[in-house]
């Protein structure tokens, strides 16, 4: 069942991207452009790994990863939403800081192996040929990532909370004059984004590799940001994009063994694909980008 194992690998490669991109999508729909995803993922990864190794409980590890991601996001939120710092500059700072802090925190955990996360195992169902392992043989984070995408899609479209969140991203000034707590909403969305990025990092460290290595996200945080643009700020399209990119990165791994070319050439694929995809999306008529939140990245202060 080569097809099944490839599909399993694609799902695994896509899951961290999906977590991070869904989190960033929520933040951006509320008007917050957080370029610190890479840093939040790294901190999530190292924290979840360290907690799992120390406590022996991967459940604690996952929770710690999400919390650590949102603590990083809180730092970003305080700076940009309360202290009105530039969102681009602060996002870069968050990534640079996250890279440094994660390698500092993780230095005694380098090279320790973990068994990976347990997979769902339903006798009968999980053994079905082909789709059995795909549908019923994943670990909890894979299910959680898809559930999160579905939840975000539902909340944004169907609930008052989603409506308020979109309002804050569409026109902070209007939302404020109607009495919506714009800053509060943006705080919430940013923290959610951090938690989701932390989960993405936790998946990398606990399930995908599973180990801790410096800078192990290797640009996935940035690709996740690109995926939000690719998915034109819609959860299901972002999910599709994450799986597409999961596919690209599995493709490059397999191709490395097949062709007689330098392996680094294939390692470039996800990065090159990101640029190409962004070009195609951005070059399209403006209708494709109609969904971009109108106040994305614009600072807002009630007294301004």
């Amino acid at each position: 069942m080569i097809a099944t194992s490839i599909a399993m690998a694609v799902i695994a490669a896509a899951t961290p991207l999906l977590f991070a991109a869904i989190g960033e999508l929520v933040a951006e729909r509320a008007g917050v452009l957080n370029l610190g995803v890479e840093g939040m993922m790294l901190i999530g990864a190292v924290t979840s790994f360290a907690v799992t190794v120390t406590s022996g409980s991967w459940i604690l590890g996952i929770i710690a990863g999400a919390l650590a991601g949102s603590v990083m996001a809180l730092l970003f939120a305080v700076l940009t939403l309360s202290l009105m710092a530039n969102q681009v500059g602060t996002g870069l700072a968050l990534t640079l800081f996250g890279i440094g802090l994660s390698s500092l925190l993780g230095r005694s955990f380098v090279g320790i192996p973990l068994p990976g996360l347990p997979r769902l195992d339903i006798p009968g169902l999980s053994d079905l040929p082909g789709i059995g392992p795909l549908l019923f043989g994943q670990d909890i984070l894979v299910y959680l990532s898809v559930a999160l995408a579905a939840l975000v899609a539902w909340v944004l479209k169907r609930t008052r909370m989603g409506l308020m969140l979109r309002a804050a991203g569409e026109s902070a000034r209007s939302a404020h004059s109607l009495g919506l707590p714009v800053i509060g909403i943006r705080y919430g969305a940013t923290l959610f984004g951090g938690a989701a990025a932390g989960l993405g990092g936790a998946f990398l460290a606990l399930a995908y590799t599973p180990m801790w290595a410096e800078n192990m996200t290797a640009g996935r945080g940035w690709i996740a940001i690109a995926l939000v643009v690719f998915g034109s700020w819609r959860p299901w399209r972002v999910l599709a994009g994450a799986y597409l990119f999961g596919g690209v990165s599995i493709l490059q791994m397999h191709a490395q063994g097949v062709a007689d070319l330098p392996p680094q050439l294939f390692a470039m694929l996800p990065y090159a694909a990101t640029i190409i995809v962004l070009t195609v999306i951005s070059a399209g008529p403006w209708k494709a980008r109609l969904n971009a939140p109108a106040d994305l990245g614009k600072p807002f202060h009630p007294s301004l």
């Binding site: 008052r160 409506l163 308020m164 979109r166 309002a167 569409e170 026109s171 000034r173 209007s174 939302a175 404020h176 004059s177 109607l178 009495g179 919506l180 403006w286 209708k287 980008r289 109609l290 969904n291 109108a294």
Partner: protein, 515 residues
């Protein structure tokens, strides 16, 4: 004590409200009362403090001092939510709407409890039908006209059964016909017992609509009256604090040679919610002032972009200036030919607020006044030119080094307009020349435009303010959905007729002709 004298307490009483923003005392011990079912006007110039006091009443701002009584009871309104819970609704001057959302979603966001979307849509349909305010709950806001958008705001308020409705300059964006319809709705609401606080600086509106007026100047209450019994002249004097300045002009009898010729200009929208220009054409003569009227969002921004050089045309010859095609030239290159443009937006477009006035002269005068040489800045020349503008137009500023952001809207507009006029353009395109400007500054700007025209320049004024256009222009055109009507001599047209054209009458006629 008041309980003995009056059976019914005022719906709203405001007492000694003060609010300060850094150097500006926006409200200084303001007090007034609004009776139940009364249409009460707040009259004042731009900067008189009207918006601040209503934002305090609606809970967006908190006062530094003073108190608010609601039906005789002291209340604290710390958020719009609290205001709505009391029964206060507000229609904003700059609408608080979300372009990419539907009417129903927009309304839900302004209600404290919206219930389900389906039920809400039904209520919207019912209410808008009963007031004759046609609205489709499922339409996206960006597809609506300005008048329809205002209806969304009004319906949003009415759904909560308000006891006080605040209307902030509601007619500044409407045609005369739409204004009349709005007044009917407001009268009906008042008859049903809803009080209305009506903010305006248009005197004849108050005389037509309001039973009582409180007049503000410089953040203080300077008088109150029954507008129907007062002359416009006396109210204006109270509002301005002196005799209103007026601009005067000797009309050019002989119109000069054609300066700017626009023909067959078609330009697709370049933004998600933009307007496409269709077959726009006109000729501007030397010494003439040509007005372009229209409800905002009908292609004025796009026309300005095409005329100014903000957007370059595929076919340069669609815009000819003194016989030369200029459609592919940018702002600065057109200025070099003598064609100047002042777009509507001051904040961040015609002026950089964080920079000094001297630096701001470099934006549009570096060529005309030779403020740079071989790519190097000539700072002292820029400084001198800034001082010249300040002196010539009485701009209130702490000298040429003052940051543009420290000037009031009116003074900054005088600076921006003066900067271009002092360079003696051969033609000037200007949008909303007196938007948000007090009467004194408006008169000064109008006078400057008259003088420029007398010196032989052609001027195009794009404005939503019909009164301004009737006062300024020799000929008038109306823009609707990206189309321009042919020019009409201003002396031959009535505000009523122009209002119909602003509402799209020309298009409707065109269709019947075609059919």
């Amino acid at each position: 004590m008041s309980k003995i004298e009056v059976a019914q307490p005022p719906r709203l009483a405001v007492r000694n409200i003060s609010k300060r923003f850094q150097a500006v005392q926006a409200n200084d011990r303001i007090g007034f009362e609004v009776a139940p079912g009364q249409i009460h006007a707040l009259l004042g110039e731009n900067g008189a403090g009207k918006s601040t006091i209503v934002k305090i009443i609606y809970g967006i701002l908190q006062p530094d001092e003073g108190e608010i009584l609601w039906n005789g009871r002291l209340v604290r309104i710390d958020s719009p939510r609290a205001a709505r819970a009391l029964g206060i609704g507000m229609v904003f001057q700059h609408f608080s709407l979300f372009e990419a959302m539907t009417v129903a979603e927009n309304i839900a966001l302004g209600l404290n409890q919206s219930g389900g979307m389906k039920a809400l849509s039904r209520r919207i349909a019912e209410l808008s039908a009963s007031y004759g305010l046609a609205l489709d709950p499922d339409r996206d806001i960006h597809t609506l006209s300005v008048g329809e958008r205002q209806r969304v705001e009004i319906v949003r308020c009415l759904l909560q059964d308000p006891r006080l409705l605040i209307m902030d300059e509601p007619t500044s964006v409407l045609t005369p016909q739409e204004t009349r319809q709005l007044f009917e709705t407001l009268r009906r609401l008042a008859a049903e017992g809803c009080s209305i606080l009506y903010i305006s600086h248009k005197l004849y509106e108050l005389q037509e609509l309001c039973q009582h007026a409180t007049i503000l100047r410089g953040g203080r209450v300077v008088g109150s009256c029954d507008p129907a019994k007062e002359s416009a002249q006396s109210m204006a004097q109270l509002m301005i604090g002196g005799v209103p300045a007026t601009a005067s002009r000797q009309r050019n009898e002989a119109v000069g040679a054609p300066r700017l010729v626009v023909s067959g200009l078609n330009l697709p929208a370049d933004q998600p919610f933009g307007v496409t220009l269709k077959d726009v054409g006109f000729t501007l003569a030397a010494g003439e002032i040509l007005g372009i009227a229209g409800v905002s969002g009908n292609g004025q921004d796009e026309l300005m972009a095409a005329l100014s050089g903000e957007r370059l045309l595929p076919d340069a010859s669609r815009i000819q200036f003194d016989g030369q095609p200029v459609g592919k030239l940018d702002f600065e290159q057109r200025r070099a030919q003598g064609l100047y443009a002042v777009p509507e937006k001051r904040d961040g477009c015609t002026a950089v607020l964080g920079m000094s006035l001297a630096a701001n002269t470099l934006l549009s005068a570096r060529g005309g006044m030779a403020l740079s040489k071989h790519g190097l800045l000539r700072k002292s020349k820029a400084m001198a030119f800034a001082r010249r503008i300040i002196d010539a137009y009485g701009v209130k500023a702490d000298g040429p080094q003052a940051a543009a952001g420290t000037l009031s809207g009116g003074n900054l507009q005088k600076f921006v307009v003066g900067r271009d006029i002092l360079q003696n353009p051969k033609a000037l395109i200007i949008a909303q020349p007196t938007w948000g400007v007090d009467a004194g500054a408006a008169a000064a700007i109008h006078q400057a435009l008259f003088d420029l025209a007398r010196r032989g320049a052609g001027i195009v004024v794009i404005s939503q303010d019909l009164d301004e256009l009737l006062a300024l222009s020799d000929r008038l055109m109306v823009i609707h959905l990206g189309r321009l009507t042919p020019p009409m001599p201003t002396s031959d047209v009535s505000a009523e007729a122009i209002g119909l054209l602003m509402g799209g009458a020309a298009d409707a006629k065109g269709q019947t002709h075609a059919a």
